[in-house]
């Protein structure tokens, strides 16, 4: 009995460990960005003519690039983009998508049906390629990158919001709140939004990971920004010719930064999927013992 409890605790710790580790990685990147100007002697833009394409050494742990710039400083500096662009895109996506989904879920009818088909049509174009084409058309600028990613992610949030509101609707939640004399704005603000938060929040790390991948792809193809930047995808693009010549560090380190950052976000997303409120019903798998229905949400403020 006690042994069983201990084993369970250990499994629990190991599962949560992923999320903890992911947060540590992200915080680590943030701290590195903040500390770099103070701690690290080489600025990301400083070119040293005599130190072109030097391999990893004590002075330059990740080597130098084709312009004699310190790769470590540039990789750390690149984390700014990895934080800023996905965050800005997410803010735009939620601001655009959530009200749209709310309206479709509450209104239903032809508006809901039309929106569904329009989203379905747009989704036929691979979203990564569409985002890239949009930025290519609007011109190279981070603002355009954020706009394109945010626009396409808005679809995800609109769909999530719509499904949540619809589900609450179907369970008589909206009728109950309306019958209790709640005006529309109160219904939305007090009764609906808090109950959809879990789902929306759960989408955030996954969409951030997607945004990061899109940003890097744009940088790699060379359409994200006009000038050469420390954005990881652009760094890889610049380093490709050196990689083929054997100077691997110019590509591998920004690539690993991308991989580690993206993995941290995805691990966070998986962890929310597994332990978040929507999957809390795994107890229902017991043979012959009824559990809560899958995906049960406890409505707050229903009374």
């Amino acid at each position: 009995m006690i042994g069983g409890m201990l084993r369970l605790l250990r499994v629990l710790a190991r599962r949560r460990m992923g999320a903890v580790l992911a947060l540590v990685v992200l915080v680590g990147f943030a701290l590195a960005v903040l500390a770099r100007p103070v701690v690290w002697p080489h600025p990301p833009g400083a070119q040293e003519a005599g130190l072109v394409l030097q391999g990893p050494s004590l002075a330059h742990p990740l080597g130098t690039d084709g312009n004699g710039r310190d790769v470590l400083a540039r990789v750390i500096d690149g984390a700014r983009y990895a934080f800023a662009v996905p965050l800005a895109a997410l803010a735009l996506a939620i601001l655009l998508g959530a009200p749209l989904g709310l309206a479709a879920g509450l209104g239903g009818g032809w508006f809901d049906a039309l929106l569904r088909r329009v989203f379905q049509g747009i989704s036929l174009v691979p979203p990564l390629l569409l985002a890239m084409a949009l930025v290519a058309a609007m011109g190279p600028s981070l603002r355009h990158v954020v706009f394109a990613i945010g626009l396409l992610e808005a679809i995800v949030f609109a769909r999530a919001m719509r499904d949540e509101v619809r589900a609450l609707h179907e369970r008589g939640f909206v009728e109950a709140a309306t019958a209790a004399g709640n005006p529309l704005h109160r219904l939305v603000l007090v009764h609906l939004l808090p109950n959809t938060l879990a789902r929306i929040a759960g989408e955030i790390p996954r969409q951030a990971a997607w945004a990061l991948g899109v940003l890097a792809a744009m940088g790699f193809v060379g359409i994200a920004t006009a000038a050469d930047t420390t954005e990881w995808g652009s760094m890889i693009r610049e380093g490709v010719e050196h990689l083929y010549a054997g100077q691997w560090w110019v590509v591998v380190f920004p690539g690993f930064a991308l991989l580690v950052f993206g993995t941290a976000l995805r691990v966070l997303a998986e962890s929310i999927d597994e332990h978040g409120p929507r999957r809390a019903a795994s107890g229902a798998m017991l043979a012959g013992v009824p559990g809560r229905p899958a995906g049960a949400l406890t409505p707050r403020g229903a009374a």
Partner: protein, 320 residues
């Protein structure tokens, strides 16, 4: 003694408020036994642990439940300590299993006849034509009209009554020594229920094999079973021959069940979830018992004489 279950304990792994797994005792020492050729009715409220006990005996617990202790001696061998490979040779061959009715129990991607053939091929080398013939024979002895035609059907094409006859045929086709039927008629209409139970009873008697019928319906027990085991909150609180238990129920829960059956048993859709059991809290039925006294704060022993026993301080059992 065909099957002797002693002190079966199973924990259910529930999900806590933060999503963390929490083990809760679901079976707290279940005892019952079956004699060859007799039929045992396992009754209790919804959630008492009847199906869980059956799953545990056959080693079919889901990952969300865990065996903690006990023994289940089947023809002298402990099923709970058997390797998965050995258990595989017992399941379906020496112990047949009939689960709750409905299409969900048959493999939706195979024809009915193929499933009956496959059930035979699992446990012995077969000749295809012979196995097909046996499949048709058992279908017709299960009262399925036009067995040759029905053997070609997919499960979803059959009525629930026919499906349950097929499931019964699957359980009997390898001539087991014991048949466990877990609410074999749940979800069927009344006429079909009676037909299936009559068929089940007839086959058990004809083959002279042991049977366990898990049910919430005392009427089923009275009509089709020789013995009864009453479960409450993860324990068997009373076991004995049907005639004796119905004539002189020794446990207050059994008494209350008999006095206002069938509504009590949740057949009317009422779910009564038993309280969680803590041994130090004494008798698990105490909160609902009209006759509870201070003695009930101590866990009651098994009081009994011969084949009739009950888990109550005040049980008075006359020797049969």
């Amino acid at each position: 003694m065909l099957l002797d279950v002693q002190g079966l304990r199973v924990d259910r792994i529930a999900t806590g408020p933060q999503g963390e797994p929490v083990p809760e005792p679901a079976l707290a020492g279940v005892n019952f036994c079956i004699v060859k050729g007799r039929i045992l009715g396992l009754v209790g409220e919804h959630g008492a642990g009847k199906s869980l006990a059956a799953s545990a005996i056959l080693g079919l617990l889901r990952p969300s439940a865990r065996l903690v202790g006990g023994r289940a001696l089947f023809e002298g061998q402990d099923l709970l300590r058997m390797s998965e490979a050995d258990l595989t040779r017992v399941r379906g061959a020496r112990i047949g299993f009939v689960v709750q009715s409905g299409h969900a129990t048959l493999d939706p991607n195979s024809r009915v006849g193929a499933q009956l053939v496959r059930a035979q091929s699992i446990h012995r080398p077969i000749v295809k034509a012979e196995a097909a013939w046996r499949a048709e024979t058992i279908m017709s002895s299960m009262g399925i009209p036009e067995p040759r035609l029905r053997a070609q059907a997919w499960p979803h094409e059959l009525t629930p009554g026919i499906v349950q006859r097929v499931v019964l045929g699957l359980a009997l086709i390898n001539e087991p020594q014991l048949l466990i039927a877990d609410e074999p008629t749940a979800g069927l209409d009344i006429t079909t229920q009676v037909q299936i139970l009559d068929l089940l009873h007839l086959e058990l008697r004809r083959r002279r094999i042991g049977g366990i019928i898990i049910t919430r319906d005392l009427g089923v027990v009275a009509q089709y079973c020789d013995d009864i085991a009453v479960m409450y909150a993860g324990q068997v609180v009373e076991q004995g021959p049907v005639m004796q238990v119905f004539a002189r129920p020794a446990h207050p829960f059994t008494r209350s069940m008999i006095s206002d059956a069938p509504e009590r048993l949740g057949i009317a859709g009422r779910q009564i979830v038993p309280p969680r059991m803590e041994p130090e809290q004494g008798c698990s039925y105490r909160p609902r018992c009209a006759d509870a006294t201070e003695r009930c704060l101590v866990a009651p022993p098994l009081v009994g004489a011969g084949v009739h026993a009950a888990r109550c301080h005040f049980a008075r059992i006359a020797a049969a």
